[in-house]
């Protein structure tokens, strides 16, 4: 009888300790999850900022200015245009 009791006591102690460790682990994992979620929020914010930056660089007025001033691009003149019509190409 005393032996059984001792055995049960040992089992109880083991259970209690494992409860403590698993609770500790749960909290640690939760902390990690929190951190990752925060990181994902941060990345979301950064994504928004990068999108904003991309839009700002790609503003049409700027693209047009660079095309015409730096790259000397222009719309071709009328007489240098030739239109290829699909039905003509098929003939």
């Amino acid at each position: 009888m005393a032996r059984l009791n001792l055995l049960l006591l040992a089992v109880l102690a083991a259970c209690a300790l494992s409860l403590v460790t698993s609770q500790h682990q749960a909290r640690r994992f939760f902390g990690e999850l929190e951190q990752e979620q925060e990181r994902s929020r941060q990345l979301g914010v950064e994504y928004g900022q990068l999108q904003l930056e991309a839009s700002t660089w790609a503003v049409h007025a700027r693209v047009e200015r660079i095309a015409s001033r730096q790259l000397h691009m222009r719309v071709p003149e009328a007489k240098r245009l030739q239109i290829a019509r699909p039905q003509e190409a098929a003939k």
Binding site: A26, R27, F30, G31, E34, G44, V45, G48, Q49, Q51, L52, A54, S55, T56, A58, V59, H60, A61, E64, A78, K79, L81, Q82, I83, R85
Partner: protein
């Protein structure tokens, strides 16, 4: 030994002393029991809450406002988090060095910050709102007691002034104040949530207890707007307003097939990212909220009605000589005296006398109905705040002279959006299409307001108005057939027509064989000497239309020949 005989034991205590002790103990235990019942039973909720407040916190979960995108997914408005610095006046005592650093970080004068920090009348004061997260971090690094930060959102508009009027803007609390931001506030706004967590003594969250309210990010909104066409329209309009030294101007570009608003530009405008110096004139979304007397751009509707009623045919002859017509004491004049014109030529040469003569053969009621049918006198239903309905007076009050002037667009007021939409009737074979600010996936169902035959007849007349014998040869585009109509109207001032103030406009569509776009251009008070719609507004139309057709890859339907223009000043003058 007889202990019993010990004299010590002879001593007996009085009974009351033991009784007394017993009562004291009983009373003590009763007290404890009562206290226990009070704490654990009666006062339990309060104490539980107190205890929980030591470790449990309700945290706000922020939600983003949705983005606004153009039809191709380009970002037009994005919210990103920023920080606001606030303080409790009287509790923030920065040292001299901290104050100097703070002032340079916030780019504010030291005196200004000091003034805010000692303001005795308030217990909360913003030192500076909406600063970048990086700056906020450096401010936090100064460790000034009594200085706090809170998270806010700021809306950025990468395209700046180009689409300011369409998008509108949000206030400091990220709530829409104008334009699309206001019109679609419900859809764009995020709903911040909250959750309960357990925090340890270091302030770190250790357990998620429950989610009280899930945060809901705002929905993204995809507009019908095409950023490329919008940019084109804005830059052409701006150049024209500057060149004509005009007071203002507006452009509307509609997709004929879907009724989508592809571009809407106004000038003057403003930069929504920096609204410190704003005047009312800059803020006005003229194309939508302002009405004007359209002038000759209304003639095609009068003609269409006459064709529909069978009163005239395109080749019927109207005598417009001697170039004036007197009705009830008032005289209508043509700028250019013609002789007998066909109905088609009345449009081509924009003869007021011709239009008035045709209108007088129609009943006021039918004219009124036609105006209402094409959308005048009722808000166009785009969903913008403050859409103007324009004014069409009830036909019972019309005098004959008024009916005659309305036939060429005077005594009636419309907004530019309404005008563009009304022209879609000709472009769509007689159907009026509902307009849309947001991208539509399925073409909407139009409402038939005239027979396809009538619309086609007017279309060919409008095409004549744009050729070299018409009023708007400058609206021609190489490679495409264009149809459209000029308008030049005196502006009303204090109830009378100002002799030297005009509104010049042009509304048209292309390609004429299978219309895809309607473009309406309005220039308000051009004062560089020229004011005819065919000279002021038509070239703007041509530039925008040509660019937009190229952007949308619309197949050309006209000859690829350079456009012939009559010499400057020799084009057919329309009647004002």
């Amino acid at each position: 030994m007889n202990f019993a005989a010990s004299p010590v034991l002879e001593l007996t205590l009085p009974v009351w002393r033991s009784r007394f002790l017993l009562y004291v103990f009983v009373a003590g235990f009763t007290l404890l029991l009562g206290r226990a019942v009070y704490l654990q039973g009666l006062n339990n909720d309060f104490l539980q809450a107190k205890g929980e407040s030591r470790y449990s916190r309700v945290m706000e979960v922020p939600a983003n406002r949705g983005r606004i995108l153009d039809r191709n997914g380009e970002a037009l408005a994005i919210s990103t988090p920023v920080k606001s610095i606030w303080a409790i006046p009287g509790e923030a005592h920065p040292t001299k060095r901290q104050l100097a650093r703070l002032a340079s970080l916030l780019e504010m004068p030291t005196a200004e910050i000091e003034k805010r920090l000692v303001d005795p009348g308030r217990d909360f004061v913003y030192v500076k709102r909406q600063i970048s997260p990086e700056t906020a971090e450096r401010v936090a690094g100064l460790h000034i007691p009594g200085l706090f930060q809170s998270r806010e959102y700021r809306r950025y508009y990468p395209s700046g002034d180009v689409m300011a009027h369409v998008l509108g803007f949000t206030g400091a609390d990220d709530i829409g104040q104008e334009g699309v931001e206001l019109a679609f506030q419900e859809r764009l706004a995020g709903k911040p949530g909250s959750r309960r967590v357990i925090k340890d003594r270091l302030g770190q969250t250790v357990e998620d207890v429950e989610s009280i309210k899930a945060a809901q990010d705002g929905n993204d909104l995809t507009l019908a707007l095409d950023a490329r066409i919008q940019n084109l329209a804005f830059s052409q309009l701006k150049a024209a307003v500057m060149q004509q030294r005009a007071k203002a101007g507006g452009v509307v570009v509609l997709d004929v097939e879907t009724g989508e608003l592809l571009a809407l530009a106004n000038f003057p405008t403003y930069n929504p990212n920096n609204r410190s110096k704003l005047a009312g004139a800059q803020l006005r979304n003229r194309a939508v909220t302002d009405t004007f007397e359209p002038g000759s751009t209304l003639k095609p509707f009068t003609i269409a009605l006459a064709l529909e009623a069978g009163r005239v045919r395109p080749e019927s002859v109207i005598q417009t000589a001697p170039g004036s017509l007197t009705i009830g004491g008032a005289t209508i004049r043509d700028a250019h005296v013609e002789r007998a014109l066909t109905v088609a030529q009345v449009i081509q040469k924009s003869s007021n006398v011709g239009a008035a003569k045709i209108a007088l053969g129609l009943s006021p009621e039918s004219m009124w109905e036609m105006f209402r049918d094409v959308g005048f006198g009722s808000a166009p239903g785009l969903g913008f705040p403050g859409e103007a309905a324009g004014k069409v007076r009830p036909y019972r009050s019309w005098k004959p002279i008024e009916q005659a002037t309305m036939s060429y667009g005077h005594g009636i007021s419309v907004s530019l959006v309404q005008l563009a939409r009304a022209y879609s009737v000709f472009a769509r074979n007689g159907e009026l299409v509902p307009l849309s600010l947001v991208r539509v996936d399925a073409p909407p169902v139009g409402r038939r307001v005239m027979a396809p035959k009538t619309a086609a007849a007017v279309r060919s007349m409008l095409e004549m108005a744009v050729n070299r014998n018409g009023t708007a040869p400058r609206a021609q585009i190489m490679g495409y057939r264009v149809a459209g109509k000029t308008g030049t109207a005196h502006k009303q001032e204090n109830g009378a027509y100002a002799p030297d103030k005009y509104v010049s406009s042009f509304v048209g569509f292309a390609p004429a064989s299978h219309p895809r776009l309607v473009v309406a251009v309005m220039i308000d008070e051009p004062s560089a000497g020229r004011y005819y719609g065919g000279v002021v507004a038509a070239p703007v139309f041509a530039q925008i239309m040509a660019g937009a057709l190229r952007v949308l890859d619309v197949a050309p339907d006209g000859p690829m020949q350079p456009i012939e223009l009559p010499p400057e000043g020799q084009e057919v003058k329309e009647s004002v």
